[in-house]
């Protein structure tokens, strides 16, 4: 293993091969600038959902680097390129350091008293005049658990509004919903350690190499060792995972349910079913088998445009597996029939009886580092502690915990999902929208609509963030927030591993931790409980954590066995962690399904096509014993299909080097240089037939809007265009929207449509037209060559490298220095 390598050019570093069942060998990655370190402070990654544990290096009160934690269960010392370099964005020159308020149309510098005074006056006025339904909160997948819980209590019991959701709605809502539909409750069944044991790994719409680079390193190390797992990959793009797969299916976008139904059909037809498991732990087998009876590979082949023989091979791979691990991400979640498709992957696992044992399980992935926490805390469309808003006893528990009347907690309907919050704002019934840690002016679909809505006179917007984002620039009040490394809190990754992230340095200027901002708001609003005491009785992160522990007690996400001390000492620990499981819980459902019983489940479920609620009575009749529910779903054609005017399918996604709307990664030199601007991907055959080539300047237009960028010719399936979704306008002359060069944010083109079950917007099923604006001038598209964006002709673009600034350490063994 080399000691130092360019981690932009070689994002996954060197291999440490291992055999099935062995622990994943340690490789300690580090990136340090300058000489000497005063202190190492524990943290975990905030730039993807893997939850990689690291120590932050501090010198003279500044962050100067990071190193992976060798003792941690999640990453065993490794870090991804975003982790190695991304911390530098904390030092960006344009950090927000004072509150801003809009006066005479302009944002002006102000102070905390004035800014908070404005927000509180407006809130009180709206509550009096219009009631709690006039106030909405749209938060992040970037804050800490303590902050989400405080926000949830503020919104649900303080204001009493049903309008609280996170941008995790765009990212992980389908993961949560699919788990709820199948297992009656949220909570990841499997663990990352299942990669160490599996013999077959199926990736459904999951570009793991780019979205969870450290988990992909784990897979690469298995692939390099003896008895490697066999891979199945479903993705329309030629991802690094596809390249390593035994079977790669590249279906037309919007056809996942057809494909999955055909795979289920084949399992039933060849009777590769674990009948004993199905009998003991599930309901609904007959309906599922009947539902897929006509879904032959030939039928699916016509819909998905993949060879029937390949579908059969995929089914054989799944059917022959002895230890099957499936993972699911945005190719399913952000696509047509999202929940219906994700649920079919759960069905696959259940039919094969592959759950709750080493190497067997399903990972319904998250995209964001703290997405899981929004779900647990009820800062998205759920009630805290995975409680069921339709279950009176669950609401009563919360009311008792918060010492408020039950009526004060809105539970007359499901909490309002983000896209509907924005619709209410557009209609004018939501009049104050508080946006924390997210950038809807770039990340929501159909941006022209979103910009107009955010600008509208009738909507008062509060934006709490680190930088002058596109959204902040449109706000009425901007609150400067502290970030990772500047505040303390916990967060939980996709496989339920909780990490503690401690304050290492002071935030810049007057910036404050999100928790302090929320506590200040609650104090100024003077929220009281039933006895006249302050509704929120805590004052700092440890206090919020303890309050959350009480809320989580006895629920699936039980944190009562955890403490800051334990997390400091041991690194990541998986919930539930309580008196019975003091070391945490590696896998759920190892003794059967545990949270689907009618009295404990988080939801009674929804119709997978219409989103209609299943009633409590129906659920009790269907599933009295609380087993897993096998839910069939019929395939529906996508809502937007190609036409003469818009002949190409259009999908969006992300690249390895960026996160979100580049708020941080665009301010990190190595990452910015690796993928500096927008591009458009097209397949080689499609390009040839249209007379287009690498570097042509093109316009991609849909019924909503258009973007302009250079063309990258790749091995993506023909008939499909791809746009990376990270690029916005803060670093262009337009600042908040398209300037003279036309649109550059992918979401100019995407459609306002969402999955009726999970309410997650569809970013992967638009129809578009492609026009050449100017021929190439010799400049290739600014797309990386190390990823799914690699040119079909390797000579078409120079390889992506990072140079001396991108050199990082990697060592096979934990360095002898003590861990903090």
């Amino acid at each position: 293993m080399r000691e130092r390598i360019d981690r932009i050019a070689e994002p996954w570093g060197d291999r440490t091969p291992y055999r099935p069942g062995q622990p994943w060998p340690v490789r300690r990655d580090a990136h340090l600038t300058g000489d000497g370190v005063d202190r190492w402070v524990p943290a975990a990654s905030l730039l993807h959902s893997n939850g990689d544990a690291m120590d932050v290096a501090v010198r003279d009160g500044r962050i100067v680097g990071v190193r992976g934690r060798a003792d941690d269960r999640v990453n065993r010392g490794r870090l991804g390129p975003k982790d190695l370099f991304g911390w530098q964005a904390n030092h960006a020159r344009d950090r927000l350091t004072v509150p801003l308020v809009r006066r005479g149309g302009e944002l002006e510098e102000s102070d905390w008293d004035t800014a908070m005074g404005l927000v509180v006056d407006r809130s009180k006025h709206l509550l009096e005049e219009h009631g709690p339904g006039a106030i909405g909160f749209y938060t992040s997948g970037q804050l800490f658990l303590e902050e989400y819980y405080t926000l949830a209590v503020t919104a649900r019991a303080g204001i009493g509004t049903n309008h609280l959701d996170g941008n995790t709605r765009l990212c992980t809502a389908t993961a949560a919903e699919a788990l709820k539909e199948t297992f009656g409750c949220d909570g990841q069944p499997a663990s990352y350690t299942d990669v160490d044991h599996c013999d077959t790994l199926a990736l459904f719409g999951h570009n793991m190499a780019e979205t969870q680079p450290v988990l992909w390193m784990r897979v690469l190390d298995r692939l390099a060792g003896p008895e490697p797992p066999r891979l199945l990959c479903v993705d329309p793009r030629p991802t690094p995972a596809a390249a390593r797969s035994e079977v790669h299916l590249a279906p037309r976008t919007g056809t996942n349910v057809a494909l999955l139904n055909a795979l289920l059909h084949e399992l039933v037809r060849t009777d590769r079913i674990d009948h004993a498991y199905v009998r003991a732990h599930t309901v609904g087998y007959q309906e599922l088998a009947a539902g897929v009876a006509k879904c032959t590979p030939q039928w699916a082949a016509r819909i998905c445009d993949v060879p029937a023989r390949e579908i059969q091979r995929a089914a054989e791979l799944l059917g022959e597996a002895r230890k099957l691990l499936s993972t699911v991400l945005q190719g399913v979640y952000q696509s047509h029939q999202a929940t219906a498709a994700a649920v079919q992957v759960n069905n696959l696992q259940l039919l094969r009886g592959m759950l709750g044992r080493p190497g067997c399980g399903v990972l319904q992935m998250n995209g964001q580092p703290t997405a899981e926490n929004t779900r647990e805390c009820g800062a998205d469309g759920d009630l805290p502690g995975f409680r069921n808003w339709e279950n009176a006893a669950h609401v009563a528990e919360l009311a008792k915990l918060w010492n408020v009347e039950e009526e004060r907690i809105p539970h007359y309907g499901a909490p309002t999902p983000a896209m509907q919050i924005f619709r209410y704002a557009e209609q004018g019934s939501i009049k104050l929208l508080w946006i924390s840690g997210t950038n809807p002016a770039v990340s929501l679909p159909e941006l022209a609509r979103i910009r107009e809505l955010l600008r509208s006179e009738g909507l008062f917007t509060v934006v709490q963030d680190l930088y002058p984002t596109e959204t902040a620039l449109l706000a009425d009040v901007v609150l400067p927030a502290a970030t990772w490394g500047e505040k303390t809190g916990t967060f939980t990754n996709a496989d339920r591993t909780v990490h503690l992230c401690e304050q290492a340095v002071q935030p810049p200027g007057q910036a404050r931790p999100d928790l302090d901002i929320l506590l200040d708001y609650a104090r100024r609003m003077d929220f009281r409980d039933r006895d006249g005491a302050p509704l929120i009785g805590w004052h700092d992160a440890p206090g919020a954590f303890e309050a959350w522990q009480r809320c989580s007690a006895g629920r699936p996400c039980d944190y009562t066995g955890l403490s800051y001390e334990l997390l400091r000492e041991r690194g990541g620990i998986q919930w539930p962690c309580d008196a019975e499981h003091p070391d945490g819980t590696e896998r759920l459902y190892s003794d059967g399904i545990s949270w689907a019983a009618p009295d404990t489940c988080e939801t009674y479920g929804r119709d997978l096509v219409t989103g209609a609620a299943v009633s409590e009575t129906e659920y009790r009749a269907l599933n009295p014993g609380g087993r897993a529910v096998l839910k069939a779903a019929e395939y529906l054609p996508p809502h937007e299909d190609v036409s003469a005017e818009h002949p190409l399918q259009l999908t969006t996604g992300r690249t390895l080097y960026h996160f979100h709307t580049r708020t941080k990664t665009g301010r990190t030199p190595q990452l910015d240089a690796a993928a500096p601007g927008m591009w458009v991907e097209i397949g080689a055959g499609e390009a040839r037939s249209r007379g287009l080539g690498e570097g042509d300047l093109v316009e991609v237009a849909t019924a909503r809007g258009a973007v302009r960028a250079r063309l990258r010719v790749t091995a993506i399936r023909d008939g499909l265009l791809f746009l990376p979704f990270h690029y916005g306008y803060w670093d262009t002359p337009g600042r908040t929207g398209p300037g003279p060069d036309g649109g550059r944010a992918a979401n100019e083109t995407t459609v306002t449509d969402w999955d009726p079950v999970s309410k997650q917007p569809l970013y992967k099923t638009a129809a578009a037209r492609l026009t050449r604006i100017a021929p190439a001038d010799g400049t290739p598209a600014p797309a990386p060559t190390t990823t799914a964006s690699a040119p079909a002709d390797p000579a078409a673009a120079p390889p992506t490298t990072g140079g001396p600034d991108a050199l990082a350490d990697q060592r096979p063994d934990p360095a002898p220095e003590a861990t903090p």
Binding site: G133, G413, Y424, D753
Partner: protein, 160 residues
């Protein structure tokens, strides 16, 4: 026409009408995105039901036109327009549309119920299959409109 055939004809016309009403309401409420798309998706079910009913009716010598005759169409359209038009004293637009759709689906559901019962009493396997295939989707249309009303009413009726 025997009484069962009358039910078939009624159901056929009403499924076609629900199909049209769903599409019309989807068009009127394009900006209510979830409603728009699901209405369009479930309209397909009603069209399919009408087709299956017509096929079953044809087997017993009863001809049900795939396109309704213009007079009936106008009558139905007028009725639909009345049903769907927001009443001055009624709830706001989308809630009114959902109410009308829910009532139309409930009416169809009752007719499916009648047909299924008649099929069982008359040991008519073909009709029973037809009802068991279609009726669940009608019930789903009802649950869906009900869910949307429950979800949207608090905001649309209280926060103006």
């Amino acid at each position: 026409m025997n009484p069962v055939e009358t039910v078939l004809r009624t159901l056929h016309d009403d499924e076609l009408a629900l199909h049209d009403d769903l599409l019309a309401a989807a068009e009127d409420h394009r900006a209510e995105h979830e409603f728009h798309h699901v209405a369009t998706d479930t309209a397909r079910w009603s069209a399919e039901h009408a087709r299956l009913i017509a096929a079953a009716a044809a087997d017993r010598g009863l001809h049900l036109p795939a396109d309704r005759d213009p007079a009936a169409l106008t009558r139905l359209r007028r009725k639909a327009a009345e049903d769907l038009a927001p009443r001055p004293d009624g709830p706001p637009g989308l809630l009114a549309a959902l109410t009308a759709l829910h009532l139309a689906a409930s009416r169809n559901s009752l007719h499916w119920e009648m047909l299924a019962q008649a099929a069982q009493a008359g040991r008519d396997g073909e009709l029973l299959d037809l009802a068991s295939r279609c009726h669940p989707q009608t019930l789903r249309q009802m649950r869906w409109t009900n869910t949307l009303i429950k979800t949207l009413a608090p905001q649309l009726l209280t926060a103006s």
